[in-house]
């Protein structure tokens, strides 16, 4: 990520240290992960110790310190989905992709995450691939759906 872009994001938040969280969120959504150089740049610009930035980047779930795959698969593990069999959907995806939740495969094809509620409980169990919600999933449907991604 270019330092110009980072500076732009920081300036948007008036360079305030209290906006650190919002700055990191913007970078995360722009770049889909937080490389070390970016964190160093933010630390220098805001005059905030790198340790504090690391603390935040590892505490909150929205941040990733590793690159993400081409397709982001989110399995909803909310209670409504859980009682309707979300674990079996997660098992199926783990089986099909060979990665566990929180990991990215070696081809950088899929990143797998679990989330706590996507707010469409009527469609549970639900998975979300690249922002698209796939509802009323079953292990068979899940395996079929994954095959459609390149």
């Amino acid at each position: 990520m270019e330092s110009e872009k980072i500076d732009q994001i920081i300036d948007k938040h008036h360079g305030e240290a209290s906006s650190l969280l919002q700055i990191l969120l913007d970078i995360q959504s722009e770049n889909s992960w937080l490389p070390k150089e970016v964190l160093v740049r933010v630390s220098q610009k805001l005059d905030v110790p790198l340790t504090r930035i690391q603390h935040i980047a590892t505490f909150y779930k929205a941040f990733s310190l590793v690159p993400k795959g081409r397709h982001k698969v989110h399995i909803c593990m909310g209670t409504a989905c859980h009682v309707r069999g979300a674990t079996r959907i997660l098992d199926t995806v783990e089986e099909a992709t060979g990665i566990k939740a929180g990991e990215t495969d070696l081809d950088m094809k899929f990143s797998l995450e679990t989330v706590n509620c996507l707010g469409c409980c009527a469609l549970g169990p639900v998975m979300n691939v690249d922002g698209k919600v796939l509802g009323k999933m079953s292990p068979v449907k899940t395996a079929e759906a994954l095959k459609t991604y390149e």
Binding site: A17, L20, L25, A62, T92, N116, C121, G135, P139, V140
Partner: protein, 639 residues
């Protein structure tokens, strides 16, 4: 847009808006909430716009993408005004027919109406549907009437009149007094009286004060706040400004969960519009009251829904809770008096100011007034958001509104209060919902998640699930929560895997006691609730897991085995072909057998076996019958 400088100008503007709108012109409202969008609402909206243009109806027919009206089970939901005709599960293909029949010929498309599963009667209007009939929708009702991106729509239904009334006709102590009198209790979980919280902040000596909206709705299976944030953001904003006026704060914050991007967008949009109209900013409607609002996004941490953690996070730090030697309404954000209320609480404020505290207290129970929105999810026929008066029984909510349990299954328990709530069994279903009533039954109101479980749900696994969630979300600051929950999770996982030991229950109880007594914040203090409440009502399930390695609900993967009933198997090969581990042996006309050594208990065979055969069974705590001898496996055609 010119600023509205006085309450009179606001009123005149409202009248001008209304006179421009012909109430007899049809308006098509399409739910654009998360549930309906996932079911294809965007395509439906696009199809309506295209069809209306094609038919040359753009000047007389309006369309609106609205917030969630609640009936997610049958989304996408379309309501056509002024007749209020309600169509369910509408697809883009249905749109030309709706335009042709309903809009042009004034006829109802029967097949898209709600049909009562018991009586078979069709319901034309939204209010005739059994799901809505027993509800009392005072907060949620406007969601379907307004375009969530239009401040004019909100003004047309009387929006910001409460703010005008508060600023021009009431003094700030009068506003506070009215909220106190209404006995509005916080909708976010603890149920602390909002008026008392406000009063504490107002009376605190520090001159700079804050009001904050807690929109960090992290409870899995709960999306009430999301529906309001996305569907009617101005109602929350209006409540917040009134709150700021009452406690003399000039700055307000929205702390919105990062997982709700549309909510963030809509709130930001609402703030901009309100600023343009002079309903926010300097000297609001000529009253001399200044107020500004800042939106802050969370970053995915459940603990940030806790008041002190949320404020720490607002300060740009790691969201860890602080000890509450002094309450946050005295020393909160930046150590200044801060009133933090939940989304739904704020949305109730304009209603109280407009209609008065007496109106508000006329609904509800002795100690819990007004209505409450619940998200009714899980093993329930009508999934969705329901708003009911406090004091309605759980049985009425689940059966009258929710339509009971689907698939002819038996009800087992309802879980209320989010991860730190508890499970309530069948014999307690006549309990009236209210803050104190639910706490007495070992659960809590929480923010309003209501997850229904049927006989197939294992209660030990439910406890394990919630403890796992909370272990994961524990911030790690205090030991009883960080270490205690981890150990509880280990023991519960062992039990669900058939590795439970004598004494495990007692150990879990001891760990629970420590977490309840010694944790720093409410997350840890209430974390053992899911275990304690399931133990209280379903001890037999724990004992079956530990003593007999049996899961009575046939859920726990390690404790069950799949078995093909030879008397029912029709040797159709469907399961054998679908089995991912190739564990099913069989052939055409040869009864199938599952090789228990290869089987991974994934359940695919059960899912694909045609229901008319129903040959796959789950067994737990009993030996799997041995395979049929080879010579008996061939199916000879019955004459």
């Amino acid at each position: 847009m010119a600023r509205l400088n006085t309450p009179e100008e606001l009123e005149n503007f409202r009248q001008a808006l209304l006179s421009q709108r012909n109430p007899d012109n049809p308006c098509i409202s399409i739910c654009a909430g998360a549930g309906c969008v996932a079911s294809g609402a965007d395509d439906v909206i696009a199809a309506f716009n295209k069809e209306i243009e094609k038919e040359g109806l753009t000047t007389t027919v309006g369309t609106k993408g609205t917030g969630c009206p609640g009936f997610c089970e049958r989304g996408p939901v379309v309501v056509i005004y002024p007749e209020e005709i309600c169509y369910l599960q509408v697809k883009a293909e249905d749109v030309p027919e709706i335009i042709e029949q309903t809009i042009k010929a004034n006829k109802v498309v029967e097949r898209l109406l709600y049909e009562d599963p018991v009586t078979g009667e069709k319901a034309v209007k939204e209010s005739d549907i059994s799901f809505y009939k027993s509800q009392e929708r005072t907060v949620l009702c406007n969601n379907i009437k307004i375009d969530s991106r239009s401040i004019d729509d909100y003004l047309a239904i009387g929006g910001y009149s409460a703010l005008a009334k508060a600023l021009s006709e009431m003094t700030d102590p009068e506003v506070l007094e009215e909220v106190k009198k209404s006995n509005l209790r916080g909708r976010g979980g603890a149920g602390f009286p909002a008026g008392r919280k406000w009063e504490g902040s107002r009376n605190a000596p520090e001159p700079i004060k804050y009001v904050i909206v807690n929109a960090d709705e992290g409870d899995p299976g709960a999306f009430m706040d999301r529906a309001l944030l996305e569907g009617n953001p101005h109602s929350i904003l209006e409540g917040l400004i009134i709150g700021g006026y009452a406690i003399n704060a000039n700055e307000g914050y929205f702390y919105v969960r990062q997982e709700y991007p549309l909510a963030v967008e809509n709130i930001n949009f609402a703030i901009e519009q309100a600023e343009d109209y002079g309903l926010l900013g300097k000297n609001i409607m000529g009253s001399g009251f200044d107020f500004k609002v800042i939106v802050h996004q969370g970053a995915g941490a459940f603990v940030c829904g806790e008041s002190t953690a949320l404020m720490t996070s607002l300060e740009g730090k790691v969201g860890e809770p602080r000890p509450k030697y002094t309450r946050s309404n005295i020393k909160g954000l930046w150590n200044r008096p801060s009133v933090l209320n939940n989304v739904e609480t704020w949305a109730n404020v304009p209603l109280i100011i407009n209609k008065g505290a007496d109106w508000f207290t006329s609904v509800g129970t002795e100690s819990s007034k007004g209505t409450k929105i619940f998200s009714l999810v899980g093993k329930i026929t009508n999934t969705g958001l329901v708003e009911v008066p406090m004091g309605m029984t759980l049985r009425d909510i689940i059966y009258k509104i929710g339509g009971g349990i689907p698939g002819g299954k038996k009800f087992k328990a309802v879980q209320t209060g989010g991860p730190s709530g508890g499970c309530i069994p069948e014999d307690k279903l006549d309990l009236e919902v209210g803050f104190d009533e639910l706490t007495k039954a070992g659960s809590m109101m929480g923010s309003g998640g209501m997850i229904v479980m049927d006989e197939d749900t294992c209660m030990v696994d439910v406890a394990r699930y919630f403890i796992e969630f909370l272990t994961d979300e524990s911030c790690g600051k205090c030991v009883p929560c960080r270490e205690g929950l981890r150990q509880m999770h280990r023991i519960l996982t062992n039990i669900t895997r058939g590795k439970g030991k004598e004494g495990d229950i007692e150990l879990l109880e001891a760990l629970s006691e420590t977490a309840v007594e010694a944790s720093l914040c409410a997350l840890g203090k209430s974390a053992p609730n899911p275990f304690l409440s399931t133990l209280r009502y379903f001890r037999d399930e724990y004992e079956a897991h530990i003593k007999a390695q049996r899961c009575p609900a046939l859920y726990c993967k390690e404790l069950i085995a799949y078995f093909i009933d030879p008397s029912k198997c029709q040797a159709c090969m469907i399961c054998a072909r679908s089995c991912p581990s190739e564990a099913i042996d069989g052939g055409k006309k040869k009864i199938h057998i599952i090789d228990q050594k290869k089987c991974t208990n994934c359940g695919t065979c059960l899912e694909v076996c045609p229901p008319r055969f129903g040959a796959i069974k789950k067994l737990s705590g009993e030996p799997v019958p041995g395979p049929l001898p080879e010579e008996e496996r061939m199916i000879t055609k019955k004459s």
